[in-house]
Amino acid sequence: MTLNTQDAITLSVAVAGLILAALAQGVLRRLGHSGRLRDGERYARATGLFTLAGLAFFAAMLLDTFDWNLERGFLALVRTLVPQATAMPFYALSDTDHAIMRAANSLEEFLELTSAMLLFFMARAFVSREPVRTA
């Protein structure tokens, strides 16, 4: 497995973003439990939606960059699990046409669409008018 500079940069940035988004989700959850977000619930909701959108987009970028390795891993798994004789049509299908790579690319597009929808939800949560609690 070879990893060029661009793939390595994408991997490190996406993994750092995944870790940061998960940490932000945990911090938001703790703050919500402690009751310190009482006056700013829509900010917490908007931040949570933004981190979810980030998670979806980082996953999309990982799929987009490492579709080749995903296909190789999947084929290795198939070759390990399925005996040689029964797996021949699957070899012929997936080795020549890169079906797993194309599935990963289409899934990446749908993850990008989901991420865009979550960004729209973030905007809606940010501008929503919630009643101020007085209790």
Binding site: A22, D39, S94, R102, E109, L119, A123
Partner: protein, 173 residues
């Protein structure tokens, strides 16, 4: 942080099932076409990717119907349900569109993606117009973007001061 591990495992299982169904369906297509004497058909991976996506969308629909959530939630606000139906329309149009390939980055799903991003930016821009006083001078927008808030502007089309909706005033102060 409590992560819903069972849901993640379930999602991975659904993805594996979708891959298996797409593989079997593509193999059946290949066998049928080769039995009819069609050789050199180039679109098997396209069939695979579309079957994969359709199985995932069908699983999402079944889950939403069973739990009465997501698309079929009756207590959700209208904009949320409309957005989810737009998401489904983006999935289905890209999976059923016979002209643009789903797996070659020339896909109609990108129109839906840019539409949602445009909606998000329009929402935030409208909120900015509602929260601040409006000005035609572009350097005001640049300075607001760069420094955040600035002293009140001299040229402004607002004649009376409005209550500032952001940041929200705390009830305790």
């Amino acid at each position: 942080m409590r992560f819903p591990l069972s849901r993640a495992v379930l999602a991975l299982a659904v993805m594996a099932l979708a891959m298996v169904v797409a593989f079997v369906g593509t193999a059946i297509c290949r066998a049928l076409l080769e039995a009819r004497g069609v050789e050199g058909f180039r679109h098997y991976p396209e069939i695979f990717a579309r079957l994969f996506v359709l199985v995932l969308v069908a699983a999402w629909l079944v889950h939403g119907w069973k739990t009465r959530g997501g698309l079929f939630a009756t207590d959700a606000p209208r904009w949320l349900r409309l957005s989810l139906w737009a998401l489904l329309a983006g999935f289905l149009t890209s999976a059923l569109d016979p002209w643009s390939p789903i797996s070659d980055e020339m896909n109609v799903v990108r129109y839906s993606t840019s539409g949602f991003l445009l909606l998000a930016s329009a929402t935030l821009f409208a909120a900015q117009l509602a929260a601040y006083r409006w000005s035609t001078a572009p350097w005001h927008w640049v300075s607001r973007w760069f420094w955040g808030s600035r002293p009140p502007m001299k040229s402004c089309n607002c004649t009376k001061a409005r209550a500032r909706p952001w940041p929200a005033r705390s009830p305790r102060s």
